[in-house]
Symmetry: C2
DNA sequence: GTCTATAATTCGATAGAC
DNA sequence: GTCTATCGAATTATAGAC
């Protein structure tokens, strides 16, 4: 079903688009239900394809998972950079909307303990994304904050969101998110 | 295979022991690999039994998961109360040993995102355990700290440990744990 | 209460036609 | 590259003997 226009070279572009569709479908599903509760069949259906086509793009489910995390992180960063003031970014991150995970979603918070059960490749991607998160946090401040302060803020954001998502008490969760906002002084 | 001594009434006690063995086996396995990567068969084998006996103690895998979290939390609390000074408890919690999860393990940190994918019953147990964690934190201090301060400290402990476990960089993880310790002022 | 046996699914990955 | 078909493996839960 590949679009093949030899004169225009549409094929390569098309494959990139399909790969992107798979990655977005995967990120959305993995973020909601974790690695094990998402099947390749489901990912491909949401991308408008069938199972068989999967292995032309990724060599395993685990590789897809790692790439989906990397991709979701890049897009989450891209979305964040529309709100330049750092305090506003923190508010957006620690928002009720983010907790519900309907729009943007940060894999660092949504998949913490999920990742800690995965192989080294996946955990390497997570680690790299986390380092980027911390670096961007310290570079976004006017006074150069210490690396330790950036780490603390990162924990309050990522950890706070992760815990808020686990709680089955909306009121307590909101209270928790506010407390984390207050604790972050940048 | 039940021990039935009608005169002594050993049977009920025996069932309690078996249930406890299952719960401990489950907690250890769930904490390491999450809900989906642990089979009932495995849990029962580690408890010295076979699959079929499982449903005489729990009505589903999900119920076992909830009970295992509750049980692990109770035992984790019991272990913590051997170290009265609150600062020492924080150090123990944010230790490299805890991150490796070989001895005690806190389900709040080890299963955060795992729980956020489970049903209301499981999330209710998690929420109740979390509330107890926060309450005990504020009551352990000499000056009555605010509820907000207790929430912030809880996030730094639980969230910090959860993230440290996901990272595939021991040095960075240790740095993170130290940063969380420093941020907690009780 | 515990065992063996099995029903009923589900899923990851591969093979081969187009 | 994408499809259909299928293998092989694993899992939850139940049934029935002891």
């Amino acid at each position: 079903m590949t679009k093949r226009l030899k004169l225009v070279g549409w094929s390569k572009e098309h494959k990139g688009q399909v790969r992107n569709q798979i990655l977005e479908s995967a990120a959305r599903l993995f973020m909601r239900r974790g690695f094990d509760n998402v099947s390749i069949d489901e990912v491909m259906q949401n991308a408008g394809l069938t199972r068989g086509a999967f292995y032309a793009h990724f060599k395993s489910k685990s590789e897809l998972y790692a790439e989906a995390i990397r991709d979701a992180a890049l897009k989450s960063i891209h979305a964040q950079e529309k709100a330049p003031p750092i305090c506003e970014r923190v508010e957006n991150y620690l928002s009720v909307a983010h907790r519900k995970g309907e729009e943007m979603a940060c894999p660092l918070a949504f998949l913490v303990s999920d990742v800690s059960q995965q192989n080294d490749t996946v955990r390497d991607v997570y680690t790299k994304v986390f380092k980027g998160f911390v670096t961007r946090l310290s570079e976004s401040t006017q006074e150069n904050i210490s690396n330790q302060q950036a780490l603390q803020s990162a924990v309050l954001m990522i950890g706070g969101m992760a815990i808020a998502r686990a709680l089955n008490d909306d009121s307590l969760a909101e209270q928790l998110l506010v407390a984390c906002q207050q604790a972050i002084d940048l």
